[in-house]
């Protein structure tokens, strides 16, 4: 019974400490806001996904062409739009990554 009581008490205290830990660690934080990606960050994520999707599709198309699943005609027809999509996503990401002054220059 005593062992059970001790184990129970240790478990309860450990759980309470663990749950309270964020407040014990930072009693007065500078900010308690749960950071959320802003519009810019979300746009960057969407572009990164678009870039990866286009690059993966290009890679897949090249491989399918080499293994004979895609004919030469289909390959020529499909590769152009995919390259354009990938280039557009890469360009847009580069623009976002560049400092403001550079971005203005590249636009201008």
């Amino acid at each position: 019974m005593t062992v059970a009581l001790v184990v129970g008490a240790v478990l309860a205290v450990a759980c309470v400490v663990l749950v309270a830990l964020p407040f014990l660690r930072e009693p007065r934080p500078e900010s308690d806001r749960l950071l959320q990606p802003d519009e810019l960050e979300q746009r960057r994520l969407a572009l990164a996904e678009q870039r990866d999707r286009s690059l993966a599709a290009l890679k897949e198309l090249e491989f399918d062409h080499r293994t004979g699943k895609v004919s030469d005609d289909d390959y020529r027809e499909l590769v152009g739009p995919l390259r354009r999509q990938a280039a557009e996503a890469l360009r847009a990401l580069d623009l976002r990554a560049a400092p403001t002054g550079e971005r203005v220059r590249s636009r201008g």
Partner: protein, 662 residues
């Protein structure tokens, strides 16, 4: 000790309620420390549940019959292994295992799921808390494994069907599968609640979904083998509602694993994918409900209980809540891309999805109809084997052939000329195989010939995929064949792991076709010295042997098997008489022929007082391919699951800045 067990479960319940309510508030209001605190509550609930589980194990090991659960499911003479596996042999222990696996998964998924994004993760915690709260509520208020009684001198023992080594692995595997489907569900709902419908939740749960699906699939095969060697009717799958209950979420998860690739590659099918995640999770809850509620008569339903209404209520809540959330987020889930051609890889995935979901739903109807019929008319209607077999053929055979077509078709669109070039070899090989089978006399089952021909087509297309891929990689660099082959797999583990899984499904299809359509059954009453013949093998009954074990008496019919004059061995089917349980079990004897993949399956149907035996002998061609399929399946799943450093670097770069622990 029971008090400590109850206290641990109450602690777990309170922590999960905290994770659910405070976590939801923190995510809603955007409070960082509260969200972290809710996440920690989820971690602490695992520790509390683990303490409760260790206590139940200890009570089982000590034969502490003051625990009602221990007294109801074990006895002093039960071997230690089965005494410990009785943990999940009954209602309350099974629910505790559910909660232990769930909180364990939750800890692992939350700690490794940073890629989902901190705002999504903040919502995942309350969703996991909600599911955990339900199970801990059942354990605390409805079905406690720590209920006590005046200590009995001995327990009631364990159901003889559960006294099998598979008991140690089959139920935990299934639970890892069932419960694992909670993780993609929680992340999908978390993403919708956070209004983030990008791919992050998919990336974060990719491995969890695959692992849960693999556990569920392998768990079912283990169950099939258990039924084959233990239940003793010569089959491995009886369309029992509880067997179906595991198959349905597996089919839905299979559909999801395919359609999610279309979302990743083309940004399409976002609504369909979250619907599939909800369907898979809902069906896994429904499966647990079927097994545990006692609503159906099944060999798997070991208990009658009052938890049914609780489960139904929770399933309704989850389904209605998820559908309402999906409906509310529809504008965010619209896809900008469209299917370019009906002859493309994504189109074949779509057809495969429709067939898988149709199969899952027809099985669901077969399971639900008798229950509804009884509720409405008061008379139980039965849905029997022909219903399921009809739909298995109608949807399963097209699914089989699609497994061969899909890999040969390019993404986006495929021209007729390219199709002709890629299909010619698999088509030629499969037509040749079909013709050969007809010539060998396999035509007595047309469906069998079709299934075998489709299987050969799929295998040929898989071999061709590996061969062409290896040749293409070899041509790219200065590589030997072996290097090119391993680099091909290493560079696209999911694709080639998937092909290996496809090969395992083909093995399964061949094994099921062979054993169910081309088998032979013979029955005879034999006196000592008499013999019978099955598929060319002579079975000579020699007499009985009886042995006394710790908890049962074993009676065996001694049968010598001959092929022509050649002696093949001695086999001993019989029965076990369990003392504490006061039950008799059938113990079969099987002769495996590794060369042909077939089995000779012997059942002593009736042990007669006058010294005769009613012997049933089944010759089951190719049945061992089903079990081989299990190993190939695990191999394929492991290839697909194996970490890919290149992929990890790409994802780390993609999500840099958007990840953190809450």
């Amino acid at each position: 000790m029971p008090d400590l067990g109850r206290a641990a479960l109450v602690t777990s319940f309170l922590l999960l309620v905290y994770a659910m309510t405070v976590g939801a508030f923190a995510a809603w209001k955007g409070r960082k420390r509260l969200a972290e605190s809710a996440q920690n509550a989820l971690l602490a609930s695992f520790a509390a549940t683990l303490v409760a589980s260790v206590l139940l194990f200890a009570a089982l090991a000590r034969h502490d019959f003051s625990f009602q659960y221990v007294a109801d499911h074990t006895s002093r003479e039960l071997p230690l292994g089965y005494t410990l596996t009785a943990f999940w042999g009954g209602q309350e222990g099974s629910l505790l295992l559910w909660l232990l696996v769930l909180t364990g998964y939750a800890v692992a998924a939350v700690l490794t799921g940073r890629r989902a994004g901190r705002e999504v993760l903040a919502w995942v915690v309350p969703v996991l808390g909600l599911v955990g709260t339900f199970f801990s509520l059942l354990l605390v208020f409805v079905a406690s494994p720590f209920a006590t009684q005046a200590a009995a001198a001995d327990g009631a023992g364990l159901n003889p069907s559960l006294q099998n080594p598979y008991m140690a692995i089959h139920p935990p595997m299934l639970y890892l599968g069932y419960v694992g489907l909670t993780i993609p569900f929680a992340f999908a709902m978390g993403a919708l609640l956070a209004r983030r419908t990008d791919e992050r939740w998919i990336v974060a749960t990719r491995r969890w979904t695959l692992a849960a699906w693999a556990f569920l699939g392998f768990g079912q095969l283990l169950g099939a083998h258990w039924a084959y060697v233990e239940i003793g009717w010569g089959g491995y799958y009886a369309w029992d509602p509880v067997e179906n209950a595991a198959l349905m979420p597996w089919l839905a998860a299979t559909a999801f694993l395919h359609s999610v690739m279309i979302q990743e590659k083309r940004g399409m099918l976002k609504v369909w994918n979250v619907l599939l995640v909800v369907l898979a999770f809902g069906l896994s809850l429904f499966g647990t409900f079927l097994t545990r509620s006692g609503i159906i008569q099944s060999i798997h339903s070991f208990t009658q209980s009052s938890i049914g209404p609780w489960f139904l209520g929770f399933i309704c809540l989850i389904t209605a809540g998820s559908l309402a959330l999906i409906f509310a987020r529809l504008p965010l889930l619209r896809s900008k891309t469209r299917l370019e051609s009906l002859v493309s890889r994504e189109a074949t995935f779509l057809y495969n999805n429709l067939l898988l979901v149709a199969l899952a739903l027809t099985i669901l109807w077969g399971v639900v109809y008798p229950i509804l019929s009884e509720a409405v008319t008061g008379q139980a209607a039965s849905v029997s084997k022909p219903y399921y077999n009809f739909f298995l053929k109608s949807f399963g055979l097209p699914l089989l052939v699609l497994m061969g077509i899909g890999p040969l078709v390019a993404w986006r669109r495929a021209s007729l000329r390219a199709l002709g070039r890629t299909f010619i070899w698999p088509l030629a090989v499969s037509i040749g195989a079909g013709a050969g089978l007809l010539a060998l006399g396999a035509g007595r089952s047309l469906i069998g010939v079709v299934a075998y021909t489709f299987s050969v087509f799929v295998l040929a297309s898989i071999v061709l995929e590996f061969a062409r891929g290896t040749a293409a990689r070899k041509a790219l660099g200065d590589l030997g064949w072996l290097e090119a082959f391993s680099s091909l797999i290493a560079r696209n583990r999911r694709r080639y792991g998937g092909y290996v899984v496809h090969a395992s499904i083909v093995l399964l299809a061949i094994g099921v076709t062979g054993s169910s359509l081309y088998g032979t059954t013979r029955e005879a009453r034999l006196a000592p010295g008499e013999s019978m013949t099955v598929a060319g093998d002579r079975l000579l009954f020699r007499g009985y042997e009886t042995t006394l074990e710790s908890n049962h008496r074993a009676i065996r019919a001694v049968v010598d098997v001959y092929r022509g004059d050649k002696y093949l061995g001695r086999y001993k089917p019989g029965k076990n008489q369990y003392f504490a349980e006061d039950q008799i079990s059938n113990e079969v004897s099987i002769r495996h022929d590794l060369l042909t993949g077939g089995d000779l399956f012997l059942i002593a149907d009736q042990v007669n007082g006058n010294g005769t035996v009613d012997l049933k002998a089944l010759q089951e061609p190719l049945v061992n391919l089903i079990w081989l399929a299990g190993f190939v399946f695990i191999g394929g799943a492991l290839i697909a699951l194996w970490p890919d450093a290149r992929e990890q670097r790409r994802l780390a770069e993609r999500y840099a800045g958007a990840t953190a622990r809450v």
